[in-house]
């Protein structure tokens, strides 16, 4: 894991002290809310429906056990005993008090964490594949590049006041587990013509009221040019991105309005000017960062284990969990374990302080002391020995973190919606709960296979409903919460934006509507292996429309 330099520590402490002063001046009335708002947003502090909300960055989703314990401590001491893991690998606290926030930031700084650039029109937390470094389908570990981007983008003076927020994701595998296509810039490590790895660069993806899939503006970029190229894109955006209209300010609109070809030319032109500057990545710089992400000393183990196999055969409950929530690891004898934050008992992505502490302990005991957070709002223990899986499962079950549903129908992404969010038009968490309660039969969930449901409480689309196989958008229609269905989205390597199927459903109809959609799939799939998305893409909207409105 990356470790801060002395200078990083110093910078962070200075920033906390600066904010402490700003909070004091606000509380004593020396600063007006208008003046203070800009400062608090620079430090990830929003004012939401019920309270302040603090968004803390988890760089590329990687946490040490110690950091997780600090997150638990903050939840317990300063909040209501829980936190919310978001789709962009942040954690949000829903109830901090203003006067406590500097102390919270101090506690975070002690474990090399912060809330800087988690809001406002700047480059946000760079997100990545939760399986980085351990995935079997990985071309190259993306984390060193994420870290380089983090260092480049943090406090970047030129890009502190962009036309709008800016989100970057990096993936190093064949499968996309980081929703690269719906980011302002998405980078995918690929093998180049000469066997050398480089990046595919996608620009202009995003959700919100104008959802768009990123355009491939460069099919191959040598790795050493990564930062100069990113700088060139950001410069073009900073100069030409629209500042006159909030709804047209994201880079996706600029790319769309300029045209892909012209935009590419502008970037290339800018790039030629800065290509050979100090941002050019020298091999030794990259190697130094790579040193922080070296493989741990894995034991040499066979890829089978007698007790594991025995449990699979004799314990159906364990077998279900193993089937759903475990993934292969590049190292023989190890597995990746998904900790489901999607039980019926808590909102998607929410974790209590005790659960956080327990997960930290489990990471120490079973997984080399690290935890990752995922785009689908779950957690991952990335390095668990096959032989430890039965014991780990027992402990996860006791913590309500072992619901066997990873990438299945109840693994729902949900934004906070009207229960927390000041911008919301409808609730999303109660809908996710109703769906989870309805589809609680394992055999049904299993039979449905790989399918995603995402819910947003307004058109800003924080819940990524556009890129779900089944997306739900809550809207306010004459004072009533109603829910629009979109079908056919995907956030993976075959990314697509879902299409609205028809008029919205009332809150008490939406779960039945989901049931109908799932049944149309089950009745029409050509074989059990044909996924929901494949069936939908083959059939189109008609049979679904007919069932829903016919």
């Amino acid at each position: 894991m990356y470790q801060y330099s002395e200078q990083d520590h110093q910078l962070l402490l200075e920033r906390v002290e600066q904010f402490r002063g700003q909070v004091q001046r606000r509380l004593s009335g020396q600063l007006s809310e208008d003046e203070f708002k800009q400062q608090r947003l620079r430090n990830g502090l929003y004012l939401q429906l019920h309270a302040y909300m603090l968004r803390v960055a988890i760089p590329y989703g990687l946490l040490s056990a110690e950091q997780m314990r600090t997150l638990a401590h903050i939840a317990r001491k300063y909040d209501k005993g829980y936190g919310h893991f978001s789709t962009r690998q942040n954690i949000q606290y829903n109830w901090p008090q203003l006067e406590d926030v500097p102390d919270i930031l101090d506690d975070l700084a002690a474990v090399e964490m912060h809330a800087i650039q988690t809001s406002g029109n700047c480059i946000r937390n760079t997100t990545s594949d939760p399986l980085a470094g351990v995935a079997r389908d990985e071309i190259e570990d993306p984390r060193p590049y994420c870290e380089l981007i983090r260092q480049w983008s943090t406090f970047h003076p030129e890009f502190n006041f962009l036309p709008r927020k800016f989100k970057i994701a990096v993936s190093g595998a064949i499968g996309d587990r980081a929703a690269v296509a719906v980011h302002d810039i998405g980078l995918r490590l690929v093998e180049g013509p000469e066997g050398e790895n480089g990046f595919e660069i996608y620009v202009g993806g995003g959700l919100g009221r104008t959802p768009m899939i990123g355009k491939l503006i460069r099919p191959f970029l040598p790795k050493e040019d990564m930062l100069t190229y990113l700088e060139a894109i950001l410069r073009v955006y900073n100069q030409l991105g629209r500042r006159d209209n909030l709804y047209k300010a994201r880079i996706k609109i600029l790319v769309h309005e300029t045209g892909e070809e012209k935009f590419r030319e502008l970037v290339e032109e800018e790039w030629q000017k800065i290509k050979a500057t100090g941002l050019y990545l020298r091999e030794q710089d990259v190697e130094r960062i790579k040193g922080f992400f070296k493989d741990p000393d894995y034991e040499t183990l066979p890829d089978t284990d007698a007790e594991f196999e025995n449990q699979l055969l004799s314990n159906p409950e364990f077998a279900r969990w193993a089937d759903k929530n475990i993934e292969l690891h590049k190292q023989s004898g190890y597995r990746v374990v998904y900790l489901s934050l999607k039980s019926a008992n808590q909102p998607p992505g929410d974790v209590t302080a005790d659960q956080m502490d327990a997960v930290a302990d489990l990471a120490d005991k079973y997984s080399l002391g690290q935890i990752r957070t995922t785009h689908r709002q779950n957690l991952v223990l990335s390095d668990v020995k096959l032989q430890d899986l039965p014991a780990l499962w027992q402990e996860l079950k006791a913590l309500d973190l072992a619901t066997p549903n990873y990438n299945h129908v109840t693994d729902i992404i949900s934004c906070p919606g009207l229960d927390y969010c000041a911008l919301a038009t409808a609730r999303s968490i109660p809908i996710s709960k109703a769906i989870t309660d309805r589809f609680d039969d394992y055999d049904f969930v299993n039979d449905l296979g790989d399918v995603s449901i995402n819910i947003s409480g307004c058109i800003n689309a924080c819940g990524h409903h556009h890129v779900a196989n089944i997306g739900i958008l809550g809207v306010n229609k004459k004072g009533e919460e109603v829910y629009q269905l979109t079908l056919g989205g995907s956030a993976r390597e075959d990314a697509s934006i879902g299409k609205i199927i028809g008029p919205a459903f009332d809150a008490d109809q939406i779960v039945d509507a989901i049931g109908d959609v799932l049944n149309v799939y089950l009745e029409n799939r050509e074989e059990p292996e044909e996924t929901f998305l494949a069936t939908y893409r083959r059939l189109g909207q008609d049979p679904f429309k007919e069932r829903l409105y016919g």
Binding site: R26, L27, S28, G29, E33, L47, Q48, L49, H50, A51, Y52, A75, R76, Y78, D79, K80, G81, Y82, W95, P96, Q97, L98, E99, N345, Q346, P347, D350, V351, T352, A353, D354, Q355, L418, D419, Y420, A424, R427, I429, P430, K433, N476, G479, E480, E481
Partner: protein, 109 residues
Amino acid sequence: MALQVYTASLLKEGLVAYLSLKDGVPSWTADIREATADTADRLDSLKAAAESAEQDNIVVAPYVIDVLETENGWKAATKREQIRAEGPSFALPQDSSTAHRSDESRRAA
């Protein structure tokens, strides 16, 4: 004419508060039922009290909302404001062991 009350967020806590004006003395309460309501054409004194509380850095961004009269007192007219008044519409995640901040602090003002 619809009845209205003033609401805002408490600066220090960030929590939801409603303006009560008793005998000309303003205070902010977490309980919407304790708020002072009036019709839009008679909101002047409430408005002045809300604005001065904002200037005195007690609350942030006061605004008026419509309320309905019920057996139990005022109830916000819209779903959004009902949720603001009552909190999230489900039980918050909770550890059995946790002695986190109780709702008492909601009444701190």
